[in-house]
Structures are given as C-alpha cells and as structure tokens.
Amino acid sequence: MDKDCRMKWLPLLWAALRRQPARSILTLLSIAIAFLLIGAMTGVNARFSDIIERAPIERVVVSPRFGGRMPLAHMTQIEGLDGVAHASLSAVLQGSYQKRENGFFAVMTDAHTVAVHPDANITSDQFRRLEAVRNGVIMTRTAADEFRFKIGDTFPLETDRPNKEGSRAWTFRVVDIVPETEQFPARLLAGNFIYLNEGRADGRQDQIDRIDLLVSDAGRADAMATQIEKLFASSSSPVNALPERTLIAQSLEGVLNMQFLVITVCGAALFMILLLTGTVLGQSAHERVAEFAVMKAIGFSDGGVYALILIEAMVLCLAGAGLGLLAAKFSPMLAAAFLPDLPTPLITAGVAAIALALAGAVALVSGLPAAWRVQRVEIAEALGSGR
C-alpha cells in the first residue's frame, strides 16, 4: 500500500465511527466502565501490595500468643538480645470522649517508639516534651480540629479501666498536635506508658500489650522473630513474633481473597465487553458490506480492509480503557467522600499497562467476526445487491 492510500485511513476511520455516533459512544462508555472496574480491582490489589512492600522489613512485632497481655519483663529480655537495635513497648487504652462514638485509641508507650516508628513522624524533641508531662498526649490535627483542642488543654477519656482516682475516666493533657499519617491515624493518641502503668487500679501493673522492635540486620527479621518465640515458648506467657510486613500481609488476606475477587470480577467484565464489541463491530461490518466491496474494487486488499476494522476496534477499546483508567485513578476522591472505609486503587504504570494490553487483546479478538465477513465479500455480488 502506498503512502497516499495510508493518508486516507484517518478520514475512513472517522467516517466509520461517525456512521452510527450513538452506537460508537455507547460502546465506548461500556468499555470505559469495564476498564473502570478492571482498573479499580487491579488497582486495589496494587494498593495492597504497595502497603505490604512499604511496611519496614526490619520491624518485628511481638504480642501475647494466646491473647491478653504479657509481662513488662519480656521487654528487658528482648532489649538485651543480640541484633535488636531498638525496642519499644506499648499498652493500649481504648476509650471515648464525651460520646461513645468519639472513640480514641491511646497507645501508651516509651521514648524508643521514636526510633522504632520513624514513619509516625514524631521527633525526639516532641517525645521529650511528652515525657515531661506525665498525663501528656500527642494527638492529630484532625482530632484537635474536630474537638477544638489546643496544646495545653486537658480532657477526660472515658475508658473501661479503673484508675487510682477511683474512676474510669483518664485525664490527658495535649502536649503536641501532629499531622495525621497512615502510621498515626486521626483517632490515635500517643501517651506515656508510665501514666497508665502507675495510674491503673485493675491489678495489671507491669503488663503490656505489644513490643515493636527493629533488628539491626533487615535480613534477619524472620530469624529474630523465630528466636524470640523460642525464647518465651516455655515461659508462663508465650508470644507471637512476626515481621510487621508478614503481619500486614496476613491481616489483608485475612478478610477477603483479593486475588479471587479480582479474577472473577475482571473476568466477567472482560468477557462481557469482548462479546459486546464483537457484536457491535460485526453489526457495523454487516451494514457496510457495500462500502467494503467498493474499497476492494478500488484496490484495497483483504488485509487492508481488515486493518481498517481492527484500527476501529483498537481506537474504541484503547480510548475506552483510557477513560476507564482515568475514572479509576480519580475514584479515590469520590470514595473518600462517600465510602471512607473502602481501600482505594493505586493506578501504577504496571496496572495501566496490563489494562491497555487487555484492551488491545479484546480489540484483536472482537475484530475477527467482522474480518471473516469482509473476507467473504464478493465484490460483484455486494455491489449488485443494491445495498
């Protein structure tokens, strides 16, 4: 085919798409929606992988093996282990401010948390200020704005733990306000373990919920976890120790079999648009038999005509996929407004590449029935039929 002929393809393609504008637009929209689904599902999968991969490999979480609490003495033993760079303990005080719905999660911890959780963005200076005020807490900007707290304010947290004042309300003083992050969500409070430990009147002094530690050699996180489990295996309070990354992976897999959901939903969507574009292109080719006959009569090869149909299919599918991916990309904004609990898709280059490759494959396959029809066009017959 010479260059001149190629120049005519664009108008031909444009004419083909404009032949039935309603049909082209509706097909495009269906494809876009299918790829919104595919983008959203594979994007959420990518989000999960991203969360898992960003979790520090060198952080190990130690918790009581059979639920409940473990003795503070475990901390001393763990700190003394070879290969433990930093270890920080915590006990959680769950409670609410004014109303039950205003729940807060107070993590009562120690200064080592600054080193163990660099991703929480609390500086040593900030923690020093916290330690200076026994009942101090660091809270998020989000919570401070919601309840109109400012630094220096005190407030009661209604909990289920009695304290030495004979009440279950614990008084906290805001010593700092920090931006909300993934590691420091809106309703988290960071407080002093010592305030809880010495103030509690429920007979659980010197008991903790969890120890987080950093290993000095990231490659040894798994081995360290196993070593710690063995260390306490025959104690009165055995523990679970797992690298945080494993723990996060398990908790994501613990709810939904994501892989299965992705394959089912994407499979259904793909199958459906494959049928749809195949049918629509077939219909379109059927209506244009005379047109194809003319093209063949003036010297277009079968391959040339098929290429035209294929390009038409490609344009529809790729444009639809592009629109769908864009919608998936911006869906987190919508989701954040209406459905805050849903995981948001992460449209990476990989996700986009897979979606576009699928769109290309759909275009190739769905163009086949139309191509078959074109190949069977007998020029004289088609032109003579008066269509």
Binding site: D160, G203, N257, A269, T279
Partner: protein, 390 residues
C-alpha cells in the same frame, strides 16, 4: 384486549427474531448474568455472616459483660462478680435448681486456614457446665464431651472445615502445653461452630488469667431481661451491663458485614451501568434495523403502545434469563462455601432467596431503563417515513 393481543403477537415475533440476532441477545443475557452473578456472590458474604450472627439471637438469652465492653475477650469479670451475676433474679433455673448460666472466657490460638494456608488467630471459648443446656441448638456429633480439668477441648465442625489440625485426636498448643481435642460439635449454624470449647477454669488456669470475659444466661422469659438488667446495672460495684445476645453479636460483627455489603453494591452498581449502556446500545440498533417491519405493522393497524411494550418485554425476558443464569452460577459456585472474618467468625456464604430477589430486581430495573428509550423510539417512528426509507 386488542392491545394485549397485538402485544402478544409482536412479542412472539420479536422472540422469533432473537434467533436472527443471536449475538446481541447473548450480550444482553451475559451482561445481566455478570451483573447479577457478581452482585449476589459478593452479597453472599454478608448474608452468610449475618445469618450466622442472627442465629445467636434468642429473646431468652442474654450476655453480661463489663460495662462499656464491646467484646467477650478480656478478663474484666472477677469470680465474685460472676458469682453475683449467676444468683441474680430473672435467670431460669435448670431441673437441678441451679441457674442456667455459663461463665466464659475467650482465648486465642494460632491456626492455619485450610484453603490458602494463611495463619490466623481463632477463638477458644471457655464455657461452664451448663453451656449445652444454655445452647440446645448445639450437639456433639463425634467423640465425647471434654472433661473439665483434663486439658481437653471439643471443636466446632465449621472450625474443623475452615482450619487445619482440629480433628478429633489432634492436639493444640495452649499456654500451659498441649490440649487434646476429644470431640466435635455441630453448633446449629451459630458463631460457636467456628470455635473450640473447653472448661473456663481450666483455660483460665492455662494462661494464669484471673478474670472472666462474659457470662451468657438463659432468661426466665424475654421480659425477664429487664428484671436482670435492673438487678445488675443498678449495682455500681458489679460494674456490668446486660444485653440481649442478638444485639451484642450483631454490633460486634456489624462493621464487617456492612463493609462487605458496601463493596458488593459499589461493584454491582458499576457493572450495572456497563450492562445498561450495552443493552441500550444493542436495542437501539435492533429497533433501527426493524424500522420497516414495525412501520408495516403499524400500517396494518397495530397500535403504538403494543409496539413499545413488546420491545420492553423482549429486553425484560432476556434480562430475566440472564439474572437466572447469574444467580444459578453464584449459587453453584459459592452457596455453602466456608469463610471466616480474620479467623474470628466462621460462616458459610449464603445465596438466599432474598439475594436472588435483589439480583432479579436489579436486572429488571436495568432492563426497563435500557429499553425505555428504544421502545418509545420504535413506537413513535413516523410510518410513512419508515416505509419510504429503503
């Protein structure tokens, strides 16, 4: 009557015509099957979880927990408080004259999910001697009952299906060593089926705990709930609250079932929109290609309304067929499949009649929305123009 006869004749004609357009009919059927299938499959999670939770509801059963608690786990209730609760008014007495109450605690043990090997924590519930009398829906199906003080457990059949290593004769590791599984019980579809049961005091001793988590009691009558509430909640030294079991368990799992439902409806709605465009697209073309036939019929005296209705009825029939296929596939693939929420609640996915009805309703609404415009267009086609057009 004439309108109906015309409608029936036209519908018959349309249905015969489907064979000439097998692909576009198939697209509509498959589209609806996908929407309904995905929607029902996803909803079967929350329906199954809710059914398991709802089976805990019994107006004559109540749970007593530490004031403000939302879960049974914990060691908030001392022996003295437990003893005071058991002797409170409103609790039904057993034939031997003792109250039907079970003092319980919750322990966690690591297990692996059978289907994918994911490690999870499951519940080991310590129960009192009246646990089976309190929950008559439970019955032992193999082995024998555990003997208190002997480090023995019995396993729920749902737990045995969902997790590995819980067969009768298997041993599980607890804080004080190995405990033997000596029997298996059917829970009658309740939450207990996903748990291991053992004696409360033995389990408490195993981890040197010094308090219970909760008590479940049989009430003399549904009205006795208030009697018990009044007796216990007015006493600040007990520091407990009383809730109907149905309310308590619905609150504790409601968050997850709600989440599952949101996911189902969001994905279902996106798919429905796709099917709507596809159906509208194909019917638009179908009506256009039939313009001459319709014009001929109109010229013969067929009314506009039967013409429009016949188009809509055609789409409705195709959509119903799709909905039936979608619901059938969802039922075959998922109904009765075991699942769990992070090891804590084990349940079976349930494709219930209610879900099938929801799916069918969705398909019908999509069909109506997608076919309305093409139907009206078909009916309003000027007869002369359509006949003239070659």
């Amino acid at each position: 009557m004439r309108t109906f006869r015309q409608f029936a004749a036209l519908l018959d004609l349309n249905i015969r015509g489907l064979a000439r357009r097998p692909w576009s009919s198939l697209v509509i059927v498959v589209g609806m099957a996908s929407v309904v299938g995905v929607l029902i499959s996803l909803l079967s999670f929350s329906a199954g979880a809710s059914r398991t939770i709802e089976s805990m509801a019994d107006p004559t059963r109540a749970i007593v927990i530490r004031k403000g608690r939302t879960e049974e786990a914990g060691q908030q209730i001392s022996r003295e408080v437990a003893a005071a609760v058991v002797s409170a008014p409103g609790i039904k007495k057993s034939a031997d004259g003792t109250p039907i109450a079970s003092i319980e605690n919750i322990n966690l043990i690591p297990v692996k999910r059978r289907s994918d090997g994911v490690p999870l924590l499951m519940l080991v519930r310590g129960v009192g001697p009246k646990a089976f009398e309190l929950r008559p829906e439970m019955r032992l199906v193999s082995g024998r009952m555990f003997r208190p003080g002997n480090n023995e457990l019995i396993a729920g059949t749902a737990a045995q299906t969902q997790f590995t290593g819980l067969g009768v004769g298997d041993k599980v590791s607890l804080a004080d060593g190995e405990w033997l599984i000596v029997g298996a019980f059917d829970s009658g579809g309740s939450v207990m089926g996903g748990q291991l049961l053992g004696d409360t005091d033995g389990l408490m001793a195993s981890r040197r705990a010094n308090g219970y988590g909760a008590l479940t009691v049989r009430l003399e009558s549904p009205a006795a709930l208030d009697t018990l509430k009044a007796a216990l909640e007015s006493n600040p030294s007990l520091d407990v609250e009383v809730q109907p079991t149905g309310v308590f368990y619905a609150n504790s799992a409601g968050e997850w079932t709600g989440w599952f439902e949101t996911v189902a409806y969001v994905l279902g709605a996106i798919m429905a929109l796709g099917a709507l465009f596809a159906t509208f697209n194909l019917m638009h073309t179908a009506v256009k290609s039939r313009a001459r036939d319709v014009a001929t019929l109109r010229a013969l005296g067929f009314g506009a309304i039967p013409v429009a209705l016949s188009v809509m009825a055609e789409v409705l029939l195709l959509s119903l067929a799709g909905a039936a296929i979608g619901a059938g596939v969802a039922w075959l693939l998922f109904n009765g499949n075991a699942n769990d929420i992070r090891g804590r609640v084990v349940f079976e996915l349930a494709v219930t009649p209610r879900l099938v009805a929801i799916g069918t309703a969705w398909a019908l609404v999509i069909a109506l929305l997608a076919s309305a415009a093409p139907a009206i267009r078909s009916a309003r086609l000027p007869v002369a123009t359509a006949l003239r057009a070659s």
